[in-house]
């Protein structure tokens, strides 16, 4: 416990300072600040997917559908009914969570693992098809434009800088909620199902019920991320529900590393910045991106963050064992990959 607390402060504190200073120092023009906003929004989406993949050890390949759905809910409320984005930020996760509850109930009763991946992929593609075709509601392929930004005391959070700080605060709140949830009775029960479902059931954990709730929670969180996206980039279209974003979230979680709160945040930063740097390669950039992805997966199969952590730990252990032969074991229980 002592170690967790101190590492949280020693790593999280400076990271937060850097995050706050970035738009004032390195990322000063609006375009680059927009990238920072995107990182934060993707980080929330990545955290939500990692809750399903890392904590539940399950796959949701329809995750982008909930993201796009959340974006649409909030955008529609604001555009058609003139409802404030603030209510949209609540309504989007609630709506996405309810749909997640329904789909989780259908899918998780009997499917797990790779079957679940395919099943959720099917739901995702169905949602995408409906969004593309249901023109009167979704605006068809071109989507909806002019989504209003949120405003506070009559002042619109419109600039990249303001939206970045706004989203960063919400990201912190999400990280805090997730860290509490993971250590709660419910969170530990979910992890116990992940580790051994039959054993968890035998000690009285209602496995399917908890999994459905946890799945719906992940969906709600990504719906929230979608609403954040809609009110910053100020448009929604059916592609938000599609495979492209699904792959992006998957890459973010797997490259960053599952089973930790740092992983998806790091993954989102790496994804946005690397694809930005590769932009100079123009048409070749996705080709190179594929190669980079393959290499990352090959050399860091557990993800960048867990690999970094392991390397650092080993360095610390070596140093402390030089001075003190009875150095305590500093591996924490969240370590290692949690998928599979």
């Amino acid at each position: 416990m002592r170690l967790r607390l101190s590492s949280g402060i020693w790593v999280g504190g400076p990271a937060l300072v850097v995050a706050v200073l970035l738009p004032l120092s390195l990322f000063t023009n609006p375009y680059n600040r927009g990238l920072l906003v995107l990182i934060v929004i993707y980080a929330v989406a990545g955290l939500s997917l990692d809750y399903i993949m890392g904590e539940m050890g399950q796959f949701s390949f329809g995750h982008a559908a909930f993201w796009g759905f959340g974006a649409y809910v909030s955008a529609k409320l604001a555009l058609d009914l003139g409802i404030s984005p603030w209510i949209g930020f609540v309504a989007a996760p609630v709506a996405a969570g309810l749909v997640g509850l329904l789909i989780g109930y259908i899918a998780l009763r009997r499917t797990r693992g790779l079957e679940l991946a395919i099943v959720t992929l099917g739901f995702g593609v169905l949602a995408w098809t409906v969004a593309l075709r249901w023109r009167p509601v979704t605006g068809g392929p071109s989507g909806l434009r002019q989504v209003p930004p949120p405003s506070i005391f009559g002042w619109e959070i419109r600039s990249e800088l303001a939206y970045y700080y706004f989203a960063l605060m919400l990201l912190l709140a999400v990280v805090f909620i997730l860290s509490r949830l993971r250590e709660s009775r419910f969170g530990r029960a979910v992890r116990s199902i992940h580790e051994n479902e039959d054993l968890a059931k035998s000690v009285g954990v209602p496995a399917t019920k908890y999994y459905v709730i946890a799945f719906a929670f992940g969906c709600a969180l990504v719906g929230f991320s979608g609403a954040l996206y809609a009110h910053h980039f100020r448009f929604v279209n059916p592609n938000l529900l599609g495979l492209q974003y699904m792959f992006i979230f998957l890459i973010i979680v797997l490259v960053g590393g599952t089973g930790s709160l740092w992983g998806p945040v790091l993954g989102a930063s790496i994804f946005v910045l690397v694809s930005e740097w590769l932009r100079v390669l123009q048409e070749y950039r996705f080709l190179i991106f594929g190669v980079v992805l393959l290499l990352v997966v090959l050399f860091m199969p557990t993800g960048v963050f867990p690999t970094l952590r392991r390397v650092l730990r080993r360095a610390v252990e070596r140093r402390s064992s030089e001075g003190d032969a009875t150095a305590p074991d500093v591996r924490d229980r969240a370590g290692g990959p949690r998928t599979g």
């Binding site: 993949m53 796959f59 259908i106 899918a107 009763r109 009997r110 499917t111 693992g113 790779l114 079957e115 991946a117 395919i118 099943v119 992929l121 099917g122 739901f123 593609v125 169905l126 098809t129 409906v130 075709r133 495979l243 792959f247 998957l250 890459i251 797997l254 599952t258 048409e283 070749y284 996705f286 080709l287 991106f289 594929g290 190669v291 992805l293 393959l294 997966v297 090959l298 199969p301 557990t302 990959p337 998928t339 599979g340």
Partner: protein, 287 residues
Amino acid sequence: MNWDIVFQQLWNGLLNGSIYVIFAAGLSLVFGVMRVINMAHGELTMLGAMLLFTVTSTLGLGYFSGATLVVVLMGLAGFLVNRVTVRPFLGHSELVVILSTVALSFMLLNSSLVVWGSEPKGVDEPFNEIVKVGGVYVTTAGMLLVGVCFTAVLGLYLMLTYTKLGKKTRATGQNLLGARLIGINTTAVYDTTLMVASGLAALAGVLIVLVSAASPNLGQPLLITGFAVVIVAGMGNVAGAVAVGLFLGITEALFGQFISTYYRQGYLYVVMIIVLLLRPQGLFGRR
């Protein structure tokens, strides 16, 4: 009701269904034997179609020799697919393999767009006469497509059921450790499985050009359709995938004709969801 239209749509559905069958068979084979979701399967089919375009237009090969060459080449490339994007990642989690095949699909799709551009390319069919059977217009190229599809699927079935390699393959799919214990070279089985699957994917590609144009963008929609077929049939069940692929192809065409052309794409997914509600393991899945 005009029965000519019904029969015409049955024929059209048979053409699509045959493609679904051969595509889903390969996807299902890889999943059934290796427990790997090959996200690059659609791009392998696309590559088959585009390579056929290149060998027929630049090397001057005819359709049949070109198609044979492409299928053999792609079958051999299946070895590389296994050694580069599947095998190095098998020790970790299932997700890592999915991600590596996603990376492969990224690379194949985008390099194809660079090489061929996104414009659809036509390939000359060997023959394309329209024959009127009763009141139905049938193309000879379409007949070739259906014939080749079912020959290939029958061949796959015979191979899996009766040959020693097929028995080894099924044993590996049922129990990897058990198969290793009794001395089956599972690495070789994995190699051949992906070679067969890759060859089947390319075969689907060279057959698609008989009824439509080759385009680098044909892979992703096909992959999604393939997943729908595989889910309805039950994951990893190759025979089920054949029956369901055919059924869905035909009913999809009828749905498009009589109910809604607009939501025709959605039809497959609605069937899929209904099946999932009633039988989450798929129609032919074991549980």
